[in-house]
Symmetry: C2
């Protein structure tokens, strides 16, 4: 057995770490124990990606893991100034969620264009009412977030004939910068938020952003809940500034049963599941094991997060 | 003014025939008048594509139009042995519905894979319940019907990463023949019916076909209602021979408010609208005017239906 200690911030179901058995010392922790376990750990696997226990426990005393891997695309739940300033390497689950989320968004776009919700409601009422719906090909989308998820969404929408503008933190070939966002929003039929949650992006979809959109626009958030000012979205839908929206992520998850968001007309609420296809947890576990082998043998790790910006920078 | 008489089997809203004004004698007819008007007409525009008045009136006495155009993809509502045996040219609205129907089917496929209906039901109950859903890429579809609509569906699903087998009346490169259908059904996640209604295809989706499908299969009919034996589909869904279905077309349209189909678990009912995007009627009208110009000047018409098989044969 190596002298490496792996600490796992657990969540059910536990990850399959079979190939590490008898090779690595594995500690299992939770929100109440992680603070005291951190000094012992060389590696931290954040399997409970809904918990912000790491962010809270990290600034304490003692040694800290040299490598932190989170089984999620976003790292907002674990980043803190002390971790950002440290030598610890942070990696994420880049790649696992791209295509599933892109499919999910494409489905939301078609469902809105073809008024599937209206059809379901009429079916419940046993009413035959023919309507004309929208052609998806030739419509315009803005995808906010130019990482792998945003780019997979763009590719998938483009395959359906949608004209897509991708926006990111900085303008570069194929990606529009923040100063172009408002004019792009004004022309978009679909506004898709797939940005990382950082100090720059927090609350970026506020009253001003919704006001910039067209009355026919449909807004989708598959990024993080805090990217959207929910009160402002609720107001925008109620005042018909925009035509509809779908939220898969929320400021507080799970969404409280008493939240007004559940029954805003034109708003679809789903429980943070857009990227989670059958087998996703096994994929997340396998990905960690692949990275572990690289780390143990001293080879370079993929998916290394730039801790100053809060995501894995693009290299192409 | 030419000495051509155009008879229009009307439906609301009427077609825009502006460029024929003052150039062609236009008669407007309905189910009660068409029988007496047919002998006067050189050209018949079947604008009311839900009516079978032509099929009923055609076998009568007197002269018959030399050209019949229907503002629909299918010609089942107008074909009869006497029309098939005549010299009258029949054309259809080939091309208008392809991409809209393909988008609609892609939306149904993603909505089923991602359980959008389950999400909507949970939202109504204000319940946050995360589920794992299916990845669309890598699933298998059989598209029954190798005309322009079936091929547009195949292209669109392939763009989403679905592995598609196209079947038709005869095997040819890229198209499987009828003898391959049952084994293909057994392996399909998605079975999409986009076939023309002919004597060969009527009732082809019966208990035997549903029995051949896998328990996880999802069936979609965007062709004609009579391609499916509705009682057999209802039984297949009730017995869970297949996982779900969506019907956009029915044996009788509109579907009777008392039909048991409205609330079969797992069945989505929509009112024959999959191809009808905003502007579709204008597109149908423009297409007829283009064909009219060709016909009047004696040039060859596109979209000529092979009256013996009941659709426009593919030439590529």
């Amino acid at each position: 057995m190596s002298d490496v200690t792996l600490l796992v911030l657990d969540a059910e179901p536990l990850p399959r770490l079979g190939s590490l058995t008898g090779r690595t010392r594995i500690l299992h922790g939770d929100e109440s124990t992680i603070s005291s376990q951190l000094p012992e750990a060389d590696v931290l696997l954040v399997w409970d990606f809904f918990s912000d226990a790491v962010r809270r426990a990290w600034p304490g005393d003692g040694a800290r893991p040299r490598w932190v891997h989170t089984a999620s695309a976003g790292v907002d739940h674990l980043m803190c100034p002390e971790l950002a300033a440290s030598d610890t390497v942070v990696t994420n689950a880049r790649g696992i969620f791209d295509q599933p989320i892109a499919e999910y968004v494409a489905g939301l776009v078609i469902a809105a264009a073809k008024d599937f919700n209206g059809t379901n409601e009429l079916q419940r009422q046993r009413r035959w009412r023919h309507r004309e719906t929208r052609r998806v090909a030739g419509t315009r989308a803005v995808v906010v977030g130019s990482g792998p998820i945003g780019r997979a969404i763009a590719r998938t929408l483009e395959a359906l004939g949608v004209v897509v503008a991708l926006t990111g933190r900085t303008a570069r070939p194929g990606v529009h910068g923040p100063d172009e966002l408002v004019p792009l929003l004004a022309r978009a039929d679909w506004v898709i938020c797939a940005a990382p949650l950082t100090d720059t992006t927090r609350g970026m979809f506020d009253a001003r952003a919704f006001d910039a959109m067209s009355p026919g626009a449909y807004f989708v958030n598959v990024g993080r809940g805090q990217l959207v000012v929910e009160q402002d979205l609720l107001a925008a839908l109620t005042k018909r500034w925009i035509a509809g929206a779908a939220l898969d992520v929320f400021e507080q998850e799970p969404l409280d049963p008493g939240s007004p968001l559940w029954d805003v007309p034109g708003l679809t609420v789903s429980p943070h599941m857009s990227g989670d296809v059958v087998g996703w947890r096994d994929e997340l576990g396998s990905q960690f094991l692949e990275l572990y082998d690289l780390w143990e043998s001293g080879r370079p790790l993929p998916n290394v997060v730039d801790k100053n910006v809060g995501y894995v920078p693009m290299h192409d």
